[in-house]
């Protein structure tokens, strides 16, 4: 089969935002399909505008298209109007590059960045004419794979996925390609053998190769069916980002998308140890990109794309060694050539950061965002987000005095040990922030964004019972009432959606049936509030005889087998348990980039090291347990051969 474009084109006159479906971005490719190349369809199961900027997907798109034995195209979930037009016209799920049907690919690979897209995965498969359950697929069907942060608990989608990539994809896609290529050459005959082989690749989890046993509701064990299939699947991690300067040709969409700018990843991993943050935990250790490479990726990227904005991305960009030099250099370089805006998403909360921000945002100082996450120092110790009130107020004062008018603050509610006094602390912080702003400008305002906390696998909070919908609602309304009439504007995430996220986040294999029911009842695009309906989920749970509270609000015990115990992010379970207990004792934990290793397991088990250019903590960083890192600690970064775990200071 070749292109479906002639069948797609007439549909586009009738749908909203037809340019979602045409491809043609600068940087996109029209790869040639040949028998000798394993064809990958990389799918982001949400709208084009949300999915296109995804860097992970773009990186793999380039890497796979550079190889002789593979090729890759992209696809995004069609919006409801397009889906119904497609179903009416019998047009299957297609790629946007050469408009080929999903079934024409050997691999259909989903990027899973959020749990609420799970039903869209089923919908994309079904629309593509691919059986949604892995057991029903035969030799004609593509191999269905997933990767992305959510796959660190792959169980809720285990029934639907042939294989799952745990961790970073840059290297493992080559091995998967080779296995798929061999299978393709052999006439795609023995699917079971292929899956068995995939299961032996490090970082690849094949759900069907494992038997799951329960003891009533409790999970008893997840056991491999073959001796050469690992009992525990370890994540993949690239040792050095310098080897992977991707994307080299970042896609430039024709329509507006989120993060519509050049994005250059400056480091991966984070060791600040915020206990609620799954991204920080599962991407350890820290690997910085060499400054020179960052610079050339920025300069080349701007030249190729024509963008006038570049973001230096990471989980905490101000932590990059020598960030001030890098920023100053880029600002000066770009000043002569045109008008390029630089942005640093994910900023720390401190005055240093505001200094950086004002360096780069000489104009257009509209809003600046900080994430203190919790309303009291006590609770911030519990979650190990060690920002003092002084830090926050100094940062905010700096921001308003430098000309910013609006400050955005992000908080979580429903955190472990949170009491009403902690919650109300959010309102107090908000009011003080506005007061500080008023000293500088009458126009000062603050937006307070509150999300309900969802405990995530592979974090010290994986044992914590999430707050119920009613409890989250109560806390949010309490805040709303307290901020009524104030210049601080409160925004919150729907606690019902938070609850469903909780079902999927720590769900086991049995949740797959629930996801399937919700999808069958029409529940797609659950991330979109206009399409989200809690009752679809609660009635699906009921129909499967599952108690939602058992999954969501129940505290887990130390001895419990967790559904993701056979997936390893490198963090030892006893380290996480220890850290959970430290957390409950309100003890913080220092950042192991600049203080001795406390042996969480990642570096030691995987023979990895932090790749950091500077042995000194960046100026202004206050993460530590009462230690003052503001001038930088003189702690060498390289790991010592013998290390003793360092207990958190008390």
């Amino acid at each position: 089969m070749t292109t479906l474009w002639p069948a797609i084109e007439p549909l586009l006159d009738r749908v909203e935002k037809p340019a979602r479906y045409i491809g043609m971005e600068r940087g996109s490719q029209q790869p040639e399909h040949r028998p000798g190349r394993a064809a990958w369809l990389l799918v982001y199961p949400d709208t084009y505008e949300i999915g296109l900027p995804n860097q992970g997907l773009q990186i793999l798109y380039e890497i796979l298209n550079e190889r002789d034995d593979s090729l890759a195209e992209r696809a995004y979930a069609p919006w409801l109007d397009m889906e119904s037009a497609m179903r009416d016209a019998r047009v299957p799920f297609f790629s946007v590059d050469t408009h080929r049907a999903a079934r024409d690919f050997d691999v259909v690979a989903f990027n899973l960045s959020a749990e609420l897209v799970y039903t869209n995965v089923l919908n994309c498969l079904d629309l593509g004419g691919v059986p949604i359950r892995a057991v029903d697929r035969g030799s004609d069907d593509p191999v269905v794979i997933a990767g992305g942060h959510c796959t660190f608990n792959p169980e809720p989608l285990a029934d639907f996925l042939d294989a799952v990539v745990i961790g970073e994809g840059e290297e493992v896609v080559a091995q998967i390609t080779e296995a798929i290529g061999a299978w393709k050459r052999a006439g795609r005959s023995d699917r079971e053998a292929l899956l068995h082989e995939l299961a032996t690749i490090s970082g690849v989890y094949v759900p069907s190769m494992y038997d799951v046993e329960y003891d009533g509701m409790a999970l008893r064990s997840v056991t491999p069916r073959y001796a050469d299939v690992p009992a525990r699947v370890d994540k993949r991690t690239v040792a050095d980002l310098a080897d992977w300067p991707y994307p080299k040709h970042q896609l430039v969409p024709l329509v507006e998308v989120v993060h519509d700018r050049l994005n250059v990843e400056i480091f991966r991993g984070c060791t600040r140890g915020c206990r609620f943050c799954q991204a920080g935990m599962i991407t350890r250790p820290v690997r910085e990109r060499p400054e020179e490479q960052v610079r050339s990726m920025v300069v080349d990227g701007l030249k190729r794309s024509g963008y006038d904005e570049v973001a230096l991305t990471s989980l905490s960009s101000a932590d990059f060694s020598g960030i001030d030099g890098l920023v100053a250099g880029l600002v000066n370089e770009q000043a002569g050539t045109g008008r390029v805006a630089l942005s640093l998403p994910s900023l720390r909360v401190d005055a240093f950061t505001v200094g950086l921000a004002s360096e780069i945002q000489k104009v257009r100082r509209t809003g600046l965002t900080f994430a203190p996450e919790a309303g009291s120092w006590r609770l911030r110790q519990v979650i190990n987000k060690l920002i003092t009130e002084e830090d926050l107020y100094a940062a905010v004062d700096g921001a308003y005095s430098q000309g910013w008018r609006r400050v955005k603050l992000y908080f979580l509610t429903g955190l472990p040990t949170e009491m009403d006094a902690d919650t109300m602390g959010i309102a107090e912080l908000a009011k003080t922030v506005v007061e500080i702003g008023r000293k500088h400008t009458k126009a000062a305002s603050a937006t307070i964004s509150v999300g309900g906390y969802v405990p995530k696998p592979h974090t010290p909070f994986q044992w914590f019972g999430q707050n119920s919908i009613a409890e989250l609602q109560r806390k949010i309304f309490m805040l709303r009432d307290s901020l009524r009439g104030s210049k601080a504007k409160l925004k919150w995430h729907d606690p019902e959606a938070t609850f469903v996220e909780g079902i999927c986040s720590r769900g086991d294999r049995r949740i797959g049936r629930v996801i399937e029911r919700v999808w069958r009842s029409g529940g797609t695009f659950q991330e979109w509030s206009e399409h989200f309906r809690l009752d679809r989920w609660t009635s699906a749970m009921e129909a499967e005889g599952l108690d939602a509270d058992w999954y969501v609000t129940r505290h887990r015990t130390e001895d419990e087998v967790l559904p993701w115990d056979h997936i390893a992010a490198g963090l030892h379970k006893d380290f996480l348990w220890q850290d959970w207990k430290e957390s409950l004792a309100e003890h913080g934990l220092p950042d192991c980039r600049w203080t001795p290793c406390y042996d969480c397991g990642v570096c030691t088990d995987y023979a990895l090291e932090h790749v950091v250019a500077s042995p000194l903590a960046p100026a202004g960083g206050s993460q530590g347990t009462g230690q003052d890192l503001s001038t930088g600690g003189a702690v060498p970064v390289q790991l010592l051969p013998t290390r003793t775990p360092v207990k958190a200071a008390t």
Binding site: P18, L254, V255, E256, G306, R339
Partner: protein, 250 residues
């Protein structure tokens, strides 16, 4: 103001194929990126957030193709415009081709005001061409053509008959007939979709073929309407052409 600090040029481009599905706004953004990729020396607006001085002509509906779209742009230096078409085309999405570039007079009137007529060729889906022909005759014979459309959220009723200058069949397609039309842009515009509605027949592919600037009884292609005179006196006083003078006077 235009011409204060730089050298205005007018660009003609086409929009064909898949890219017809992007909006006027998307086109504007694609051009802004293309100017940077092609490293054109742009003149910027003054002020807090400087923008390149670009102004687009009449918007083309999403889904329409065109042989004749225009934009005006101001450069900070007087570059040779000859290679600009090729370098912009290379920097633009496939299907958008720059087909002409001309220096224009400093005070050339803006495209949106200057263009007074547009021509389209469009497809009407119909089994029997005779049906189309008789409905066209009826439409043209009627004293008015009152349509209702929403403008800024309000329903407005307008007679668009005066804007229809010509409308006639000019060929057939596998689904129906091709019509050619010339429409005035003032006092109120009318679109091929409105004509389809009036004929009671679905509209297929639409191609804008021309835009015209009409002045003193002459019909001018926008690239040729307001040429900058080749000789510019060293003190900056131009020996401008008659149209530019007229524009300046108005």
């Amino acid at each position: 103001m235009r011409g204060d600090t730089g050298f205005p040029i007018r660009v003609r481009f086409s929009k064909h194929g898949k890219v017809r599905f992007i909006s006027h706004r998307d086109i504007a953004r694609a051009f802004e990126r293309a100017f940077r990729i092609a490293e054109l020396p742009l003149a910027f607006t003054l002020g807090f957030s400087p923008r390149p001085k670009v102004s687009f002509g009449l918007a083309l509906s999403v889904g329409f193709e065109s042989d004749a779209e225009y934009l005006d742009l101001e450069l900070s230096t007087d570059v040779d415009v000859e290679p600009v078409a090729a370098s912009l085309t290379a920097a633009l999405p496939e299907g958008i081709d720059v087909t002409g570039v001309a220096r224009i007079a400093d005070r050339a009137p803006a495209l949106q005001e200057a263009v007074s007529a547009v021509q389209y060729r469009f497809e009407i889906v119909v089994d029997d061409p005779e049906v189309a022909a008789s409905r066209i005759d009826a439409l043209l014979a009627a004293p008015d053509l009152v349509i209702t459309r929403s403008r800024k959220g309000k329903q407005v009723v307008e007679d668009v008959r005066p804007a229809i200058r010509t409308l006639q069949p000019c060929g057939t397609t596998d689904r129906g007939v091709l019509l050619a039309t010339e429409l005035s842009t003032r006092p109120t515009g009318v679109r091929p979709g409105d004509l389809g509605t009036a004929l009671g027949l679905p509209v297929g592919r639409v191609l804008r073929t021309h835009q015209w600037i009409e002045r003193d009884g002459a019909r001018l292609e926008p690239l040729e309407a307001d040429p900058r005179s080749p000789a510019t006196a060293p003190d900056g006083a131009e020996t401008a052409g008659p149209h530019a003078l007229q524009a300046r006077a108005s």
